[in-house]
């Protein structure tokens, strides 16, 4: 499988995003770097509010520019900096090369158009095809997303479909043009538990079929265990640990990762009570002087308060910690 991982499709270097709120600016993404290769699923994990979604939106060039802006860094797609592209060039890439699936399939589809017209509109914006051919492509995309009765469904309005079916429509919208990169932001969070597994599986199959590079954003470690190839753990706007999924689950090194893993209810181990991480995420207006996690870390040293650890290591595993611990059980 390692041989299949090829070039880096997306490379983010030292990305910094500021948001403006109540008269002041503060960083919500603080020097984030990561890369997504083709034919792999990178999971970006973290608590809500740690900057996952805003990172994804910045890759799409869809940051709400009146409240959030990239202040530093670059986002390379096949070596080309997306932040320097003109608006129309960026538009051409969207959904053709890089596409995105959003969390809430209920509100994410335009309610007054049929799903057929939504799909064909997006297809025809990017491809010079006639309406009947666009319709065929739409049907193919819906079938690939395993929506039953795809052709009849073209005439349905979003409100006539269930949540799971709508999310399949979203998958079809995002994958209809065979993009190289697919970003999925909490694609299953809004769905019923029974549907979640089906949608995840379908996403993973689509990714394998099209050899897409996929960035899956989630706060749910069960999802990570299910589909990820590699995992990047994000805390307060920066990546604290990055590893392959086996390594991360077997030998987490960062105290935060260990805390997260400890927080999954593990039925087989019967360890008794849930392991919650004490404290909470520091407000972005008052960042800690050193390591962002120091205030909540049981292993914090004086050094951790003095200066900020760097993300070190290469290839398989990276870690941002002065005092990594072997796993305690």
């Amino acid at each position: 499988m390692k041989e299949e991982i090829q070039d880096n499709l997306i490379q983010i270097h030292d990305l910094r995003i500021s948001i403006y709120s109540e008269g002041s600016y503060f960083d919500v993404v603080k020097g984030l770097s990561l890369s997504v290769c083709s034919n792999e699923i990178l999971c970006l994990v973290g608590e809500s509010g740690c900057g996952k979604s805003i990172t994804a939106l910045s890759v799409m060039g869809l940051l709400p520019t009146d409240v959030a802006q990239v202040t530093n860094g670059e986002i390379l797609f096949r070596g080309q900096d997306l932040l320097k592209l003109s608006a129309s060039d960026m538009r051409r890439l969207r959904s053709d090369e890089i596409s995105m699936i959003f969390q809430d399939p209920i509100t994410s589809l335009d309610p007054v158009f049929t799903i057929g017209s939504l799909l064909t509109e997006i297809i025809r914006v990017h491809r010079n095809v006639g309406s009947s051919e666009a319709e065929n492509m739409a049907v193919d995309a819906l079938e690939a997303a395993q929506l039953p009765n795809a052709r009849q469904r073209l005439k349905s309005y979003p409100h006539e479909l269930s949540g799971g079916m709508r999310q399949r429509v979203m998958i079809a919208l995002a994958t209809a043009l065979n993009p190289a990169v697919l970003i999925a932001d909490e694609p299953t969070t809004a769905l019923d538990v029974t549907v979640q597994a089906q949608i995840l599986e379908r996403l993973r199959e689509r990714q394998r079929e099209q050899k897409m590079g996929m960035l899956l954003i989630t706060h749910d470690l069960a999802v990570v265990a299910e589909v990820a190839d590699r995992v990047a753990v994000m805390y307060a706007g920066e990546i604290v640990e990055e590893a392959s999924v086996q390594t991360l689950f077997d030998k987490p090194q960062h105290p935060y990762t260990q805390g997260l893993l400890g927080a999954i209810p593990d039925i087989t181990a019967r360890r008794g009570s849930l392991h919650a991480i004490p404290g909470r995420v520091p407000p972005p207006q008052v960042p800690p002087p050193g390591c962002e996690f120091a205030p909540r870390c049981v292993h914090a040293l004086e050094e951790c308060w003095e200066s900020r650890p760097l993300l070190e290591g290469s290839g398989e595993g990276k870690l941002r910690c002065f005092n990594p611990q072997p796993l305690i059980t």
Partner: protein
């Protein structure tokens, strides 16, 4: 819908009958004898119980013969044709102005939010709602007819004479439509589906001009039906001020002269128009909104 029409026809009939006073006073000279008055009442059916009068009246209308004016004996059907045509021209012009000016301005304001264009359009809109239209009409006559003498102050029915009353009649509607369009556009711009469409690589122009506008049109269409009613109401005043011989003017004149067949018939016509407008509003709202259309 039919029930509403029925109820409103009864209401109008009773209201006008009650308010009509002694109709014979208007129709006959003061020297007429009491017997002659009685005979006159009997001839036009005023001696019967009021509900019988109602049925007789509705029967006549349904047969297409609503009767005659008691002041000048003009056929009501002829009057309706004459005044109806004039009112239709004025009302139609005002209605078209409301949407042809209101919607584009509202869209513009929503797209250039907080720019000078937005502030300008919104100040205009607030002013438009604060100025009562009879006052606006006077100002317009004073300014364009008396001072600059570029437009006629009153009369019917040339294009030039149409300009002032149509604008005055449309003014509040334009102001309201601008606000409504702007807020509907802004509300829909914050919807999640806008992000999905942008992520699909659609141009801003398409996202706003097609999808957001289409969603924003739902409340605007339902407003359109209600506009008909409002225009009918304001026409009563505006036609009067500009001496535009429409239904509104005829109705107000008839009420003042106690010419009750005219008052009754024309208020019935206006009420039917209003009810029709409200019904159109509902239907339009349902048609424009797929979520309310019955699924197959």
């Amino acid at each position: 819908m039919l029930i509403v029409l029925l109820i409103s026809s009864v209401a109008v009939f009773y209201a006008i009958r009650l308010s009509g006073g002694d109709a014979t006073a208007a129709a006959l000279p003061g020297s007429a004898t009491e017997e002659f008055r009685e005979e006159f009442r009997a001839r036009i059916g005023l001696d019967k119980p009021i509900y019988l009068q109602y049925f007789a009246y509705m029967g006549k209308i349904l047969k297409g013969d609503p009767g005659h004016s008691i002041t000048n004996n003009a056929s009501l059907v002829e009057m309706l044709k004459e005044h109806g045509k004039n009112s239709l021209v004025l009302g139609g012009a005002a209605f078209a102005l409301v949407f042809l000016i209101g919607v584009p301005l509202g869209v513009l304001a929503s797209l250039r939010r907080n720019s000078w264009a937005d502030h300008g359009i919104m100040s205009f809109s607030i002013a438009g709602m604060a100025i009562p239209n009879f006052w606006l009409a006077l100002l317009a006559i004073w300014l364009f007819a008396s001072t600059f003498r570029i437009l006629p102050a009153a009369g019917c029915c040339s294009g030039k004479q149409l300009i002032l009353p149509a604008i005055v009649l449309a003014f509040e509607g334009i102001a309201l439509t601008v606000r409504m369009t702007r807020s509907a556009m802004i509300e829909n711009q914050n919807n999640d589906f806008v992000r999905t469409l942008r992520a699909g690589g659609l141009s801003e122009w398409r996202v706003m001009g097609k999808h957001v506008l289409r969603n924003a049109m739902i409340p605007i269409i339902s407003l359109a039906g209600l506009r008909i009613g409002q225009i009918v109401g304001y026409a009563l005043i505006v036609e009067q001020i500009f001496s535009w011989p429409g239904i509104g003017q005829a109705l107000v004149t008839a009420v003042l002269r106690r010419d009750y067949p005219v008052a009754q018939f024309f208020s019935l016509v206006l009420v039917v128009l209003v009810v029709l407008g409200n019904w159109l509003a509902d239907t339009g709202y349902t048609l424009a909104n797929p979520r309310l259309r019955r699924s197959r």
